[in-house]
């Protein structure tokens, strides 16, 4: 972070944005120099190679929800329950992540409509401590689902996470069954649960709510898996196949319903909600 960002982030009156504020940027996939405004206008997809860039909650809400949505308040959870420190104290890591991001943890929900169809949309932000799932993410997931049940609408989530938040130890692991309780309740209410797997989604997040959708969508090229590639390579000592754990690979192996380009995502979600939405009770 530059000194300017630090100063800017310390001024709470300035709205924090989760998009780059530099003029030019380099595509992380093909290396093409892109005019940042063009990249953003193209939904953060590279105009040359179609690489889907990682985007935060605010940008995602704007891309997928109709204007006039409401961002839901983040539930309060106990912070630093293990009094954890590695090379840094966990509260210091949280503070730094909050200074650099618009929302207080890695999963944020908004209530709105997708081409007119009501839905709660949850977005995980990889920029917030790798999108990692701790108690705040688990609790936000449950809250998002509860709002969907109360509003009698679908819960749609865009996942992005390296996995569980290690700084919360076993309590992060326990978010796997906890979020699964929520998906079961949504199912019991007869409401749709749609998962959009974005780059990257791995570890305990993939092994819980990210794989339990009624419909599983993946963004092109997204890394999706349970184990990390280095761990696999260290275990089996073989070269990993081309495209291993990428969205298209998961599609070929029957793990996702479809790989959808970002420009078609909103329309696809709207169509799915049209089919799956709960019929109004007379």
């Amino acid at each position: 972070m530059s000194w300017l960002d630090k100063v800017r982030n310390s001024l709470s009156s300035l709205a924090k944005s989760d998009t780059p504020d530099t003029l030019w940027m380099k595509c992380p996939s093909c290396g093409e120099m892109l005019f940042a405004k063009d990249f953003e206008a193209n939904l953060s997809v590279c105009t040359k190679c179609e690489h889907h860039g990682r985007i935060g909650a605010k940008t995602r809400f704007d891309q997928l929800l109709d204007a006039g949505y409401t961002v839901l308040a983040a539930p309060k959870v106990p912070e630093n329950p293990l009094n954890f420190r590695d090379t840094k104290k966990y509260p210091d890591r949280l503070k730094a992540a909050r200074a650099a991001n618009p929302y207080p943890d890695a999963l944020t929900n908004a209530l709105g409509t997708i081409e007119g169809a009501k839905a709660v949309l949850g977005v995980q932000d990889f920029k917030f401590m790798g999108g990692s799932m701790g108690m705040a993410v688990g609790e936000a997931f449950v809250a998002g689902v509860n709002t969907a049940i109360a509003e009698n609408c679908a819960y749609v989530i865009c996942t992005a996470a390296g996995g569980a938040r290690m700084q919360e130890g076993i309590l992060s692991l326990m978010q796997m069954p906890k979020t699964t309780v929520a998906t079961r309740r949504l199912a019991a209410a007869g409401l749709p649960y749609i998962v959009v797997l974005t780059d990257p989604t791995t570890g305990g997040v993939t092994a819980s709510y990210a794989m339990l959708g009624d419909v599983q969508i993946a963004e092109p090229g997204a890394l999706i898996g349970f184990a990390g590639q280095r761990v696999i390579q260290d275990t089996i000592r073989e070269k990993l196949p081309d495209g291993f754990q990428r969205a298209e690979y998961l599609h070929a192996h029957g793990m996702v319903d479809m790989v959808v380009h970002r420009k078609d995502l909103k329309g696809t979600l709207a169509m799915l909600l049209g089919y799956l939405a709960r019929k109004e009770v007379a």
């Binding site: 959870v77 590695d86 108690m135 692991l173 326990m174 699964t180 339990l212 696999i232």
Partner: protein
């Protein structure tokens, strides 16, 4: 069905003196040295010299005292080593020691049979249950057969099948957890390791029958929780349960391989820590020096603890059983 009960086991069935073959861990070195001296004295004594006998008695007392003192204050990293002790009793040992009339059930009906997870119908102190658990194996051939207790998707899908069968026939589910983690491999990813774990966790939560899980040695991450989302969760006194191995946390958070001991402490992986955090419900005591020094006594304590929980849960209606399990996990991390 007795032939199924005779599964590979490191215990003293064959008449060997188990205690004399104990492998000592690094931190047990002073005890190992003392035990070696006792054995040496015994070899020279041949029962004739009384003063040697009394010397042996003194040393044995000292050794027992050192063992008790060491095990009373094991660090989280030492507990990790005890939990992974090569002679620590496994699923198959408990199966032989406390369960009877075991009928093994195999296969996921989709792809294959995964011996990293063993399952079947079993009887525990007169109670008919569905038993599911990880098996690591105890020597090279059996470790390969059981893939060191690291299950692939078909293992979890077998667990799902057996849990659903248990629910259908009103049998309580007992799971014995002992895995370093789900298998990280190409074919496991290809066949949907993440989905299999997620669905297995979901199957636990859907059970309309009581479910009790016990962590025997290692409760390694998602591979453990997939069969441990139970009404009651127990841990053996020196077992560990963790989101990632201490070594893994060391390499990711400290970016070095030698901070595993610090990581084990920081992550709070011990049964005692997890009871305090209310993640588990009870601790099953182990004999002084760990479960491997007396598998039969450990197994009896485990059976008693399992039966205690099953008796309490037997009074619940199916709706109450589901609700209690849901509330248990919803409470973790909410204010």
């Amino acid at each position: 069905m007795s032939e199924y009960n005779v599964v590979s086991s490191p215990s003293g069935d064959d008449g060997t003196d188990w205690m004399s073959m104990i492998s000592f861990l690094d931190f047990e070195k002073p005890i190992a040295e003392l035990e070696a001296r006792i054995a040496e004295l015994r070899a020279t004594a041949d029962g004739s010299a009384l003063d040697i006998d009394s010397e042996i008695g003194k040393l044995e007392k000292k050794s027992a005292g050192m063992l008790a003192a060491t095990y009373a204050k094991l660090t989280p990293w030492q507990k990790t080593q005890v939990a992974r002790h090569p002679q620590r009793p496994h699923m198959v040992d408990y199966l032989r020691l406390i369960f009877t009339d075991f009928v093994p059930l195999a296969g996921d009906r989709t792809y294959g049979e995964d011996a990293a997870i063993i399952g079947g119908l079993a009887t525990l102190d007169g109670r008919k249950v569905m038993l599911i658990g990880h098996e690591k194996g105890h020597d090279t051939p059996s470790r390969i057969k059981h893939n060191f207790g690291s299950a692939k998707p078909e293992g979890y899908r077998k667990a799902i099948r057996l849990m659903q069968m248990a629910s259908k026939f009103g049998l309580p589910v007992v799971t014995l957890v002992d895995t370093a983690g789900a298998f990280p491999g190409i074919e496991a990813e290809e066949r949907g390791q993440a989905e299999a774990i997620a669905r297995s966790t979901e199957a636990c939560l859907a059970l309309e029958v009581p479910m009790v899980a016990a962590i025997l040695g290692e409760g390694g991450s998602g591979g453990a929780v997939a069969i441990a989302a139970a009404n009651k969760v127990l841990m053996l006194e020196h077992s560990i349960y963790s989101v990632i191995s201490p070594e893994g946390a060391s390499s990711i958070l400290w970016r070095t391989s030698d901070k595993a001991a610090d990581a084990a402490t920081a992550m709070k992986v011990t049964a005692q820590d997890l009871l305090a955090l209310k993640v588990i419900d009870a601790i099953v005591p182990e004999p002084t020096g760990g479960a491997h020094r007396d598998p039969a006594v450990t197994a009896r304590a485990l059976a008693d603890a399992l039966c205690r929980e099953l008796s309490v849960l037997a009074a619940y209606t199916p709706a109450e059983i589901v609700r209690q399990r849901e509330d248990r996990f919803l409470a973790i991390g909410s204010r």
